[in-house]
């Protein structure tokens, strides 16, 4: 069965890399459970699925990951997003709060985590996020940056 990571990496069951990936069922199943835990969690901490998918789309774009841009764009379209959430997904910065602060944080941590400091977390708190939301947002950002790297690595293996 093709999962989200195979799809992102463009792998099909007749690829050698597809089979090699199955040597580690812990990685295959684990990555899928992680994806669900940040994009379709049972308890969303007040961060709706549409917002999460929009941010994933934004981060896929920052990572220039065409397959994941297309995938998250398709997922977002069926969630009937508002104009504001669509703008967030497309990389806008002139957004209402708390989306403007969330967008700024997502961009910083995706592009240059080395620059992050305590002030960046304080800004999320000032924008109204509580601690569970700050952690849930951090895990979402971190997951998408994991996903783009695994997909990129697998794609390079397939073509190299």
């Amino acid at each position: 069965m093709i999962d989200a990571m195979d799809k992102a990496a463009g792998l099909s069951p007749d690829d050698a890399v597809f089979s090699a990936r199955r040597f580690r069922p812990e990685f295959v199943d684990g990555a899928e459970l992680c994806r669900l835990s940040v994009l379709q969690p049972k308890s969303d901490q007040g961060l709706a699925q549409g917002l999460r998918v929009a941010l994933a789309h934004r981060m896929a774009a920052l990572n220039a990951d065409q397959a994941l841009i297309a995938e998250y764009g398709a997922q977002l379209a069926v969630l009937d997003p508002t104009e504001e959430v669509l703008a967030l997904a497309r990389g806008a910065t002139d957004l209402d709060e708390p989306l403007a602060t969330i967008a700024r944080h997502v961009d910083l941590i995706t592009l240059a985590p080395i620059q992050a400091d305590a002030k960046d977390i304080a800004k999320l708190t000032e924008a109204g996020l509580d601690n569970p939301q700050i952690v849930a947002l951090s895990e979402l950002i971190a997951f998408v940056n994991f996903q783009t790297r695994v997909a990129t690595g697998l794609r390079l293996m397939r073509s190299a």
Partner: protein
């Protein structure tokens, strides 16, 4: 002239208040797998367990990637983690995984070479792994097919390369938690 670098461990302190064990929900307690020595649950775990669902899923995946039997040698996974942590600026993770590499190999050679910013003095296998780790960790990725060819040329098979991709990528994740949600302090 420094002949050998030994790094001291750092402590990690969160920017937000961690969950107090006495106030944790049943789901959070279950996620922390609280034992009678509950006071020993680290601040890191208590911070991340604000969102127990992602905490459990990520911890299981992290442990599989770093500790699963067979495939890529443990020090090579640590080197992948270290390369990512340096690019992402997670000092705490970099020190932990540099120390673990030195323990596993019983040698400070690699840590010394990287600390002195002389990666060119590394063995060819370590050069290939370290370079790939750095390039895959950039946003967007700067890794290329030549990097994969380099890994293959030093004898790595597809299963080892997949293990390495995961070790680097899971630090694209872990670094974005540890360096973002807290900071490193020198040990006492």
């Amino acid at each position: 002239m420094i002949n050998s670098v030994r790094l001291k461990p750092l402590n990690w302190r969160p920017h937000i208040a961690p969950v107090e064990v006495s106030e944790a929900t049943p789901e959070q307690l279950d996620a922390m797998k609280v034992t009678p020595s509950a006071k020993k649950v680290s601040e890191y775990v208590r911070t991340l367990v604000h969102d127990p669902e992602s905490y459990v899923a990520r911890t299981l995946l992290f442990n599989a990637i770093m500790y699963v039997e067979g495939g890529l040698a443990r020090p090579d996974r640590e080197l992948g983690a270290l390369g990512a942590s340096i690019v992402n600026g997670c000092k705490f993770c970099a020190v932990v995984h540099a120390r673990r590499h030195a323990e596993l190999t019983k040698s400070d050679y690699l840590v010394t070479a990287l600390y002195l910013d002389k990666p060119e003095t590394l063995a060819p296998r370590d050069v290939a792994i370290y370079r790939f780790a750095r390039r895959l960790s950039a946003t967007p990725s700067e890794a290329t097919e030549e990097d994969i060819a380099s890994l293959r040329s030093v004898g790595m098979d597809d299963i080892e390369i997949i293990d390495l991709i995961h070790a680097i990528s899971i630090f694209g994740w872990a670094n974005r938690l540890m360096h973002v949600l807290g900071h490193a302090e020198s040990g006492k």
